[in-house]
């Protein structure tokens, strides 16, 4: 999964901003996953991009690094180990 995700991001990053490239790649691998991207400022997770229509239910916050986080709809369809791997890949792209 790690390699596949990175490969897809690499493909998209040539045509799209990094964030959208990451989003697109994840949506291809996990079409059922609803994901919103946030910038983290202290306690504040500011909405940046993603599917707002699914925000009517509670989400799960996953911190990528100091500055970036994602919010996923629950129940999260990705097995925990894969989610951890996904975050590791995203760390390389979102500084």
């Amino acid at each position: 999964m790690t390699r596949e995700l990175a490969k897809r991001i690499e493909n998209y990053v040539r045509q799209l901003p990094t964030l959208q490239a990451c989003h697109q790649a994840i949506q291809e691998l996990y079409p059922e996953l609803k994901v919103r991207w946030t910038k983290i400022y202290g306690r504040r997770w500011s909405h940046v991009w993603g599917d707002e229509t699914s925000m009517f239910s509670a989400g799960r916050r996953v911190q990528i690094n100091e500055g970036w986080g994602i919010v996923l709809d629950e129940p999260c369809p990705i097995p925990e180990p894969e989610l951890t791997q996904m975050v590791q890949v995203l760390k390389d792209y979102l500084k």
Partner: protein
Amino acid sequence: MSSVSYQEWIDSVVKPEQIEKYLNQGRDFVNEELINQALLANRQPSKTRLREIMAKALELQRLDPDETAALLNCQDEEIWEEMYQVGYQIKEKVYGRRIVTFAPLYVSNYCVNNCVYCGYRKSNKETVRHRLTLDQVEAEIKALVQQGHKRLIMVYGEHPLSDVHYIADTIACAYNTKVGNGEIRRVNVNAAPMSVEDLKILRDVGIGTFQVFQETYHHKSYQRLHPKGTIKANYHWRLYSLHRCLEAGVDDVGIGALFGLYNWKFEVMGLLLHTIDLEEKFGGVGPHTISVPRIQPAVNTPFTKNSRYLVDDDSFKKLVTVIRLSVPYTGLILTARERAEVRNDVIKVGVTQLDAGSNIGVGSYSENNLDYTRQQFILGDNRTLDEMIRDLAKMGFITSFCTADYRCGRTGECFMSITKQGKIHNLCMPNAILTFKEYLLDYASPETKTEASYLIDKELDALPNEHVREKVKSMLERIEAGERDLFL
């Protein structure tokens, strides 16, 4: 500060290019001709038209200036009664039967301005000046946390002594202070207009909402009330402060007007035009909250009693109602400036946030004293937080200390998208229940526990989604077992 260095300081703060980029063909959005024409053209609205406008507001659509002007000009008390009902319905539809509660924390009252209506004006020699040290901020925070507060609005006078770095340091101190189970989880800020660069410093420290009130939208009155040569005399620097805020990435902003400085109908129209301009320029993101401060007496400040535009209680209730209907999806803040009986009445037309247990003297929470010489104005409602919660419970409202939205990415465009569809209470009511439970366990008096605990079961039963209800039940059990800060 000498006059020369003061001017240099103003020049270093104000960035004209950060105003000009937002003007519409060189003009600001407060089109007085449009406002006056709208008020004139809609001076005798029919009942039918007013009811059509109410129906539009109930669908959570923002009203246009003509529609708002028609509501403002309503002369029929029966229709006003209908509008009060609609205000309540809108509020319940968007936000549910919850009231978000916070405390104001005045951090520094040094001020370079000379606003004639303000107790903190530079020339007011009867005001005792004080700027909190970080140790004093910590003491204030501890006193507030021990009341049960989770949300603050931190307030700063405009002065080099309270520049953005000082503000950031005091906010960080507020976030880092813990007392037992308690802590401040959201710090909103009311401070002077700043540049985009300075606002990014506040963004990085993790503020909630940034508030700047225009005071009056009426250009000539603004110039009259804010003496030439002061930084606040720059109408446009203030008017576009929240545009800069959104540009800087602090995507929750709060607007307001100080009612009593000019004609209240004009000010409501100004607030609407402010909302519209923000929404047009920032992809639908308007103000997160609208505040309705009404001028109150202040030490050695005769203007507060002599202004020809003072707003009586009846007109005040009406203006709050029209704002509720005009921007149905935005939070509406009613502060303890107002007397308890006014607040208890006006809450019902659609207010979403209140402060409680407030003490606006700089350093006064930790000293537990009421010192008018350290206050910007004199508060009308001195109920403690516990008393307020009990009174709200008697009216059927649950007090919320929820701070989840801005910690879960529900900010700016995302928050607006949810509220405009009337869906935010799906998340906020569960969080209200959870934070209210924390309050009852950690801070409530026996009397409040007796009178307000019923709200937990009542609101839990009323949650429409069974899955969410079960989740909240489980979280309530965890809170009973000692966990804190659980949220959806």
